[in-house]
């Protein structure tokens, strides 16, 4: 393919992904003066951020004046079982309040306190009520606000356009290559800086709250471009996903249900979470129903209900109850708010949950309990980045949001995701713009053979007849990950999963798709599959290596948290032969003044 017939665009910064992080990065990059483009797989405003429900965690102190960034920092580190990059957690806690106020400046309409300030709600793992929210559709509000801001600034958006390859000029990023989903034509972006904001990997699992886009594109693109991934074994299973009817299995039930008074019960009607309070959180968790119920009204003198423990704890507890045969009829457990709050309260505070259950499951949550179970929700691991700038080890390659790793350690607290997107989206965009400016006299050059290779790889699935069906392969992959690399893992199963993944990888080389290139979902899936396989292999490899249980990684054969693992990150890279390679690396050490926050008072 000659360059003349290839649609080509030149920008200073290309942002891949138009969720919260991508949009925020593009806004920051644009405001830094860089010519900026957003490239996204879906229509603008449809990214997975719309699914976020609970809120944006930010220590604004609107509801509890005692709240400040140090408390938020401490909660985040403890939630992540101290495996977070301390600097990311610090920046995140410090900058989140400003990022929220900025959204309001751009038109977001948050729920208010009585004084007219932004209201904040309780969430698991957060000491104070600190989630800025709009009912239970905060993600929608956030993405719409950012989208409208990006549109107002006139940032170019390439919608329904998928990037399949990052282009490099020696060691630097030179651009990106992709295709238009509607026409199937190729398109190339020349840019000295690329920001990855592609989200997560959830589509590798069968039961997931994630949409089809979550195929780990950014993780795979980064690896392929020479960047490293950190701590991929940590996958968060959200404790409360819908379990019935089967077609909606996995769809999220927001944590706000519990923050607003909902409790978990097993088939015997027992609030079983009291049996699952780990030593680590005993000091701050209520040990009787009476105290837990008082907490909603009086947070100063009572400890938190165990339903609001970090997500990993709750998901494991639910898993154990179901395994012990105390589950609900459809293999979940009961989440009950109907018996605890009146109908008007539920409809006001949880309108989209009410709507979701009514429309999809024909369940009235103001009258009966919901059936829920764990669902794959979020990957804590991701591209290893510099905390302050978001740059990866590849010059010009930035990452922010779920695709970046380190911020959440081994487990993410609810509400910290949206704030993560804003804080590090902005930082990555700003620094990408700055990088492009610094290198304006040393332009990059796109190498034709890279473009040709990318184009050939992209059309390969059309070349053969009678090969593997991509839909079948995807289903098998999801089955492997769900069964063998799920919430509870063992050495045998992980070894087995790697063998099966290798087999799937071989078969993925023999995909065939029917039809032509115009809006062909079979072809699109065939191009997403290698990325899904790559991230699946990363997760399984890292999970096999880490012989302990911590946060979003639970090993049945190593059930305890092991101090000696507490200071170790697992780093994945592509070696010279294109094979995944895994190294251990020391966790960056926290400065003493932050360390003091964790000393027992």
């Amino acid at each position: 393919m000659s360059t003349s017939e290839l649609e080509t665009h030149a920008y200073d910064v290309v942002v891949i992904g138009a969720g919260g992080a991508g949009l925020r990065a593009a806004i920051a990059s644009h405001e830094s003066g860089a010519r900026t483009a957003i490239v996204c797989k879906s229509l603008l405003g449809k990214a997975h951020t719309v699914m976020a429900e609970g809120g944006i965690a930010a220590a604004m102190g609107n509801v509890w004046p005692d709240d400040n960034w140090r408390v938020h920092f401490r909660d985040t580190m403890r939630g992540g079982k101290m495996l977070n990059h301390w600097r990311m957690a610090q920046l995140h806690a410090q900058e989140a309040p400003d990022r929220v106020l900025e959204l309001e400046e751009w038109g977001a309409l948050f729920d208010r306190t009585k004084d007219g300030l932004i209201s904040q709600r309780d969430f698991g793992g957060h000491r104070y009520a600190r989630l800025a929210h709009v009912g239970d559709r905060t993600g929608l509000e956030m993405i719409r606000t950012l989208q409208q801001r990006a549109v107002a600034l006139g940032i170019d958006v390439f919608m329904e356009c998928t990037v399949t390859k990052l282009l490099k000029d020696v060691d630097r990023i030179a651009g990106a290559f992709g295709y238009w989903r509607d026409s199937g034509r190729f398109v190339m972006f020349e840019a000295p800086a690329v920001v990855l904001a592609t989200g997560g990997i959830g589509k590798s699992y069968r039961v997931t709250s994630n949409s089809w886009e979550y195929t780990g594109d950014g993780h795979a693109l980064a690896l392929d471009a020479g960047a490293s991934l950190v701590n991929m074994e940590f996958v968060q299973f959200h404790p409360t996903g819908m379990v019935w009817p089967p077609s909606v299995r996995g769809i999220l039930v927001t944590e706000s249900v519990r923050g607003d008074g909902g409790v978990l019960r097993n088939s015997e009607g027992k609030r079983f979470m009291f049996d699952y309070i780990p030593e680590f959180f005993k000091g701050e968790t209520a040990d009787s129903e009476a105290e837990a119920d008082r907490w909603y009204e009086d947070k100063k003198n009572n400890r938190r209900p165990p339903e609001l423990l970090p997500r990993d704890e709750v998901a494991r507890a639910i898993n154990s109850e179901i395994k012990a045969g105390r589950g609900s009829p459809h293999d979940g457990i009961f989440l009950d708010i109907a018996s605890r709050r009146d109908a008007a309260f539920i409809q006001r505070r949880l309108p989209s949950m009410y709507h979701q259950f009514k429309e999809l499951a024909d369940v009235d949550i103001t009258a009966e309990a919901m059936e829920i179970g764990p669902t794959c929700h979020y990957v804590m691991g991701g591209v290893e980045v510099d905390p302050d700038t978001g740059v990866s080890v590849v010059p010009g390659l930035y990452a922010a949001g779920e695709v970046a790793g380190g911020m959440h350690g081994s487990n993410r607290l609810g509400g910290n995701s949206l704030s993560d997107l804003l804080v590090f989206g902005r930082r990555a965009g700003l620094h990408a713009g700055y990088f492009a400016y610094r290198h304006r006299r040393r332009p990059v050059r796109v190498h034709q053979q890279q473009v040709n290779a990318a184009a050939e790889a992209a059309v390969a699935p059309f070349a053969q007849d009678g090969g593997e069906n991509p839909y079948t392969l995807q289903r098998e992959l999801q089955e492997v990950m769900q069964e063998l690399v799920g919430i509870i893992r063992t050495e045998d199963e992980l070894t087995e999963s790697l063998r099966k993944l290798a087999d799937l990888r071989r078969r993925a080389g023999e995909l065939s798709v029917e039809g032509h290139r115009q809006y062909n979902p079979g072809w699109h899936l065939a191009l997403d599959l290698p990325n899904m396989l790559t991230v699946s292999e990363c997760i399984a490899m890292a999970a096999l290596e880490r012989t302990e249980s911590r946060g979003g990684h639970t090993r049945e054969d190593f059930p305890g948290t092991d101090e000696s693992w507490g200071g170790i990150n697992l780093i994945l890279t592509n070696d010279a032969g294109g094979e995944l390679s895994l190294q251990r690396q020391d966790l960056p050490r926290m400065p003493d003044e932050l360390h003091e926050l964790f000393e027992v008072k």
Partner: protein
């Protein structure tokens, strides 16, 4: 408790197309999008369909099911009998791309034409204060998931392609209303709502409200109030005089 479902799906592109019959095995509790995914995975791998969240939150899988504008992910099969044939076509107000996918760029063009929110400066502590009752009307409109079903069903553009340049459509009247009701906005967009967005073309026949999957009362709470605000500005000398004398409205007209 599965059963074979008969479907008629529109397949084709701008050069032509037709309804094609499919029979697909479906399960209790499934939605139309599940059935279409199964057709895709087993019978027509290249069947084009746009979707994302499959939970009624993103507004991607808009289509016409038995002639009505619906989200495929929120249309349960249990709403139909086992013997019923379900017909699915792409949105008929927009240019078709392929199969069930349409080119909805009209809506993104209209979004760009709307002047952005311009708030008053924050209070001394850097925060802004608004009361819950003042933001509630806007919050209803911001529930919009941009599925564009209201745009699709609106006869002003559905039946009259030539009105598209002059008409922003219900989704954007929501935006005009939201901004005009915002307690902190400093811009007056009433003139624009009439001249640029063409609110006068709307004859309030309420189809937009009927199809809204978020149950936003588009006509009653946004379009009609916006029409009334235009009347304040253009057709009610008393109101006009009142605002001039008492200088109540200090917004800048756009």
């Amino acid at each position: 408790m599965g059963y074979p479902l008969s479907m008629r799906l529109w397949r084709g592109d701008r050069d032509g197309g037709a309804l094609q019959d499919f029979t697909v095995e479906v399960e209790e509790g499934e939605v139309v999008l599940d059935a279409i995914h199964r057709v895709q995975a087993t019978q027509a791998g290249d069947l084009a369909v746009r979707w994302n969240c499959k939970a009624g939150k993103c507004g991607s899988c808009s289509a016409e099911i038995n002639g009505r504008s619906r989200l495929m992910c929120m249309t349960r099969l249990s709403d139909f009998g086992h013997e019923d044939v379900i017909t699915v076509t792409p949105l008929r107000a927009f240019p078709v791309v392929r199969d069930l996918v349409t080119d909805v760029s009209y809506n993104y063009v209209k979004a760009r034409e709307l002047p952005a929110f311009a708030p008053t400066p924050p209070d001394a502590d850097g925060k802004r204060r608004m009361m819950q009752q003042d933001v509630e009307r806007g919050q209803e409109f911001r529930k919009c998931i941009e599925c564009f079903l209201c745009q699709n069903t609106c006869h002003v553009i559905r039946d009259h392609e030539e009105n598209k340049p002059a008409f922003a459509g219900p989704r954007f009247f929501l935006r005009y209303a939201e901004l005009d009701m915002h307690p902190l906005d400093t811009h007056d967009r009433r003139e624009l709502a009439q001249s640029a967005a063409g609110i006068g073309l709307c004859n309030i026949t309420k189809c937009c409200t009927e199809v809204c999957p978020e149950n936003i009362k588009i006509t009653d709470n946004a379009i009609i109030p916006m029409k009334e605000r235009v009347v304040d500005r253009k057709y009610d000398p008393l109101v006009w005089l009142g605002t001039k004398i008492r200088r109540r409205d200090d917004r800048t007209e756009l």
